[in-house]
């Protein structure tokens, strides 16, 4: 990230033209066509309503409100977890305008043809998008781990009307990256009382009955694999795309642990994971970054522990539904561009997530916030989330350190395996055992 620290100021022309567009729609400016929006459309723009649907960590009311204010048309939001959203895209595509999808989910649903690609030239800040998405590498040119559904591999579409994802760059994007993060295990340092530095600790008998992992099969098995590999039981070819034999071996190990009462629970919702940790039912478990924060805001010590084996990465992006056309599609594209323009990036940074265009997010953060969230520096002052909750006291550092260090240490990505169906079946067997 060092190179982008130099203040690259982006002349965000899109924003100014959108202001013009909304002004025009309000009937203030009456000077012919505004670029992108013919006058007639600009007048109608204020009547446009877009429905943005996705998981609650990404689809946030405050962001939609700000976008509605800046863009001059109405953005409605609805939260739905990835599984529910996939079902909706598959069966009721007309009930969604903009789908907020994880990259692996995009890999799964794209072939249905219910989403449409976005031409790269429509996205003003495409060149500024963090290159793990657009190029599959870090800014210094180092390659990103290819285990699992590397966002780059899902990033490009063959073209309009095609149901295929293209490996390697084309002129069309599937979804436009928005938020992403590096996931690891959460621990209760007060109840463990010694340093934890390996995923193998998840399987350590010392914590028998005090561990939990995600009960969502596709992610749960990957956390299990991270731990199993760290303990040295299996050397996977690709944890994100296991063979049947690897799935069998992993599930056998997990079944054995389960029969000995090693796991306290398998959680499947955010609040379950918070309660398990806060109540002390478990001391080490799979967690999501804001869940760790939620435990901390209750005054209970909780660390999103950096592990030597690396993180499990994930990323979300926004996809346009195939039914969008004309003015509504233009509005949706404007919304995508607004999303990358910084306000949203600043907002989600205060929840511990990263923006697809870190430089614009920086414009919407104080120096101290940028230092704390992106550079891993100790906070000069108290750090608060967008709702005013204390996230870090002065002098504290973010768990896992700087952006480049965290994202630079992704071991595998959230994914859907080729043997997904077999894996779900084995997972059901594991749960029923």
């Amino acid at each position: 990230m060092k190179e982008s620290e130099s203040t690259v100021k982006i002349d965000y022309s899109r924003r100014s033209f959108l202001k013009k567009a909304s002004a025009a729609s309000a009937g203030i400016a009456a000077t012919g066509a505004v670029s992108g929006f013919p006058m007639v459309w600009a007048n109608k723009l204020k009547d446009v309503e877009l429905l943005h649907v996705g998981p609650s960590y990404s689809v946030i009311q405050e962001i939609a409100d700000q976008a509605s204010k800046d863009l001059g048309f109405k953005i409605q939001v609805q939260t739905a977890w990835t599984d529910a959203l996939l079902t909706r895209i598959a069966n009721q595509p007309d009930t969604v305008d903009v789908a907020d999808l994880e990259f692996w989910a995009t890999k799964r649903i794209w072939q249905r043809g219910n989403l449409q690609p976005v031409a790269i030239r429509e996205i003003d800040l495409w060149d500024k998008i963090y290159p793990i998405f657009s190029k599959g590498e870090y800014p210094n040119g180092a390659k990103v781990s290819t285990q699992g559904a590397l966002p780059y591999e899902v990033q490009y579409a063959s073209g309009p009307g095609s149901k295929e994802i293209h490996s390697g760059p084309t002129d069309y994007a599937t979804i436009i990256p928005t938020v992403y993060n590096a996931d690891t295990l959460g621990i209760r340092p007060d109840l463990i009382g010694r340093p934890i530095e390996s995923w193998a600790e998840l399987l350590n008998p010392e914590f028998s009955g005090k561990t939990a992992i995600l009960g969502i099969p596709a992610i749960g098995i990957m956390d299990a694999a991270m731990a199993v590999e760290a303990r040295g039981d299996i050397q996977y070819g690709d944890k994100g795309n296991m063979t049947r034999a690897e799935i069998d071996q992993t599930i056998e190990i997990m079944k054995d642990l389960k029969s000995r009462g090693h796991f306290r629970a398998f959680w499947s919702s955010f609040d379950e994971s918070v309660n398990l940790m806060a109540s002390g039912e478990v001391v080490i478990q799979s967690m999501w970054s804001p869940a760790v924060t939620a435990v901390k805001t209750r005054g209970i010590p909780c660390v999103y522990q950096e592990m030597k084996e690396g993180y499990r990465g994930w990323g979300n992006g926004m996809g346009l539904m195939a039914h969008l056309d004309g003015l509504k599609r233009d509005a949706a594209v404007a919304y995508l561009n607004w999303y990358l323009s910084g306000w949203q990036g600043g907002f989600i940074a205060r929840q511990g997530y990263y923006s697809a265009v870190p430089e614009t997010a920086r414009d919407h953060m104080s120096e101290d916030e940028w230092g704390y969230w992106y550079e891993g520096r100790p906070a000069n002052d108290n750090i608060v989330d967008p709702y005013g909750n204390l996230m870090g006291k002065a002098g504290e550092k973010r768990d896992g350190g700087a952006f480049a260090k965290r994202m630079g240490n992704i071991e595998c990505w959230n994914t859907v395996m080729d043997e997904n169906r077999y894996m779900v079946k084995k997972w059901n067997e594991f749960t029923a055992s």
């Binding site: 249905r112 997904n420 169906r421 779900v424 059901n428």
Partner: protein, 294 residues
């Protein structure tokens, strides 16, 4: 003239019941039969992990029947159902017995029955979730026992276990037993019991020869409620066992989440078949319709 009117009147009489049953029939047809037919059709569709195609294949069923997991899940589901059924019948019958034979005034009876419904004033989910802080390691129950000195380590089996699932089911579903059993019990003519006593019957004889047989229809109705509720649940088993246990529907949910609709539809059809068989069996044993008319 009058003859013709009589004929049309008779016709109306014959048609009227059908007209009366029409609204319900239409609702059931539209919202129960039609969707079920679609689920049934879907279970025969071809499926390649991502897309499914309208065609006819038995592959979904072949896979379902060939998998030992199917039968393990079914056995687990039926075990849960049997245990919960037994407990709810025992509790439901006892409560109804108390309400019917130990409370003399109708007003107090109704008042107490209403008290039984108080937990139902809030949602199922809330009632379920509230067991978690109660049964947990740091929960009220464990901490209470530790404070009193009965145990020195929290009892872990209380939460995220089959025990927790059953406690929750019983809490959620016992009322569905109490109400129908109470309803059939209050109809028992007290003079029959008096006559039995005069004829020398003891309390046990009265219970087994009079009260239980005459409460049958209530027990059967309650059974239908409880069996269908437990067999069709996935949420309680998922949350209260911490996903450590599974049943047919929770496995189905995992498939649906992955958009594996045809295989999920096949297991849905199997579940429906088994529940229908169980209910038929119960209704074979007791003719509820006849008993209700009595």
């Amino acid at each position: 003239m009058s003859g013709a009117r009589r004929i049309s009147g008779m016709r109306l009489e014959r048609v009227l019941p059908y007209v009366q049953v029409m609204p319900l029939a239409a609702v059931l047809l539209l919202f129960l039969v039609v969707p079920l037919v679609f689920v049934g059709l879907l279970s025969f569709w071809e499926f390649d992990d991502i897309q499914y195609y309208p065609s006819f294949t038995l592959a979904n069923y072949q896979e379902l029947f060939a998998s030992p997991l199917t039968w393990k899940l079914m056995a687990d589901t039926i075990t849960f159902t049997a245990v919960v059924w037994l407990l709810t019948v025992l509790i439901g019958f006892t409560c109804s017995y108390f309400l019917t034979f130990h409370i003399r005034t109708l007003r107090v009876q109704i008042l107490l029955l209403l008290i039984c419904t108080i937990p139902f004033w809030t949602s199922n989910v809330i009632r379920m979730i509230s067991w978690i802080p109660f049964l947990g390691k740091q929960g009220v129950f464990n901490q209470g026992l530790i404070a009193v000195g009965v145990i020195d380590q929290p009892l872990e089996f209380l939460l995220y276990s089959d025990f927790a699932v059953i406690v929750c089911y019983v809490n959620l579903f016992t009322l569905f037993m109490i109400v129908p059993i109470f309803n059939s019990m209050v109809k028992i003519d007290l003079s029959i019991i008096e006559a039995a006593r005069d004829a020398g019957a003891n309390s046990w004889n009265i219970l087994t020869n009079i009260i239980i047989p005459l409460s049958r229809s209530g027990i059967v109705l309650g059974t239908i409620f409880v069996v269908t509720l437990v067999m069709g649940d996935f949420f309680v088993v998922k949350i209260m066992s911490g996903s450590q246990s599974a049943n047919v529907v929770s496995a189905m949910k995992n498939e649906i989440d992955q958009l594996y609709y045809p295989p999920a539809a096949a297991s849905a059809m199997l579940l429906i078949l088994i529940v229908v068989l169980m209910i038929t069996l119960v209704l074979r044993i007791v003719d509820v319709r006849r008993e209700l008319v009595q």
